[in-house]
Subunit: 215 residues, 2 copies
């Protein structure tokens, strides 16, 4: 059974590259996304770059200003709180649904991420965040509701623009890790309501931490 060959479109490559650059911080929030400049740097014409930039606007990672081009979105504290409110609900629902649908390989992947996170928790905030995203991504993507998965992914990605607003103290990361363990435990028990509750507790608590850390 041969897989159909997926034609690689330039616009997709450009979009992925720009998204990675934005999420990794290589292109800082507030930076202008000049289409001709990016086209020169990437060695392609302006058309696919323009379309990729438009798609990023649709994803919420960039904002357009009337006639003044597009710049990488800048998140204020209120934006982050908004995002946590939404994620609390969406990912809570996702966790409840995922509890009944996760395969044993999904659960194994989840545990692998948590083990790696436990090892990274001391000091390496960057690795910790990466594994945090993987954890939440696995839960969202296995919930069985494709639209929920898509919207949760959009919100989780958008939140990665928050950078300096996030709390990186070791004790806080440790706390998150323990809450992740609780979520995983509920998922492993196939206890949907408990998983939802644990996810909501986790994200609400992080939201509160962020709020108090920036005031």
């Amino acid at each position: 059974m041969l897989q159909p060959i997926a034609s690689v479109r330039v616009v997709d490559v450009v979009r992925d590259r720009l998204r990675s650059a934005i999420l990794s911080g290589d292109i800082a929030p507030g930076s202008r996304l000049s289409v001709p400049e990016l086209a020169r740097q990437l060695g392609v014409s302006r058309s696919p770059v323009r379309e990729a930039v438009l798609l990023l606007v649709g994803e919420g990672l960039a904002v357009e200003q009337s006639r003044r081009g597009v710049e990488v979105a800048r998140l204020e504290l209120t934006d982050v709180l908004e995002l946590y409110d939404l994620r609390t609900n969406l990912e809570g629902l996702a966790a409840r649904l995922a509890a009944e649908r996760m395969t044993s390989s999904d659960l194994a992947a989840l545990r692998g991420v948590l083990d790696a996170q436990g090892a990274a928790a001391v000091g390496d905030a960057r690795s910790f965040r990466e594994l945090d995203h993987r954890f939440h991504e696995i839960v969202s993507q296995t919930c069985g509701n494709t639209r929920l998965a898509r919207h949760a992914a959009l919100l989780a990605r958008e939140m990665r623009l928050a950078g300096p607003l996030m709390v990186n103290e070791p004790w806080h990361l440790k706390q998150s890790h323990q809450e992740h363990r609780a979520i995983e435990h509920a998922l492993r028990q196939r206890d949907g309501p408990a998983a939802e509750n644990a996810m909501r507790v986790h994200l609400s608590r992080v939201c509160q931490s962020v709020r108090h850390h920036n005031s």
Copy 2:
């Protein structure tokens, strides 16, 4: 104090026109969206049309097929159920938040919509649906969470593609109308939890009706 001049971009006009045509059914689900053809019909060049079509894909109203262009999204029953699950949660949250933030003019607008809906309820399913959208839109847009408002709007719009899957029996519309009244009552009392509960009851019940109507 002069208002800044909002430049009207062709791409925005095209996007709005295409979206209206899709949501009104003028362009049926499954129809191919040929960029050159649409450009001819609209009397503009292909560039803004191509971008508008891409934006509609981003909104979930159209889907791209590899190398075979874009067509208007076709919703199966499972898609509609997915959407209701999501809307139940998102709009439930929106209702709770809106209860504390709606102004008296918002409440007046809501009541106006409900009164019009009460008059239209008998027989005119098309008007009823239009007012239903207005009702949910007002609640979502007044919740104070811009991202919640945006995502709720996207989901509500996407659901309008469901067409023949929806339940249009008069008694069902009447039931929806009464549930809308209950939601509005809770909002007017500024009772967030009650509003959330009423919204969830409403959307869950509609979801069940749709499920049983198509099986």
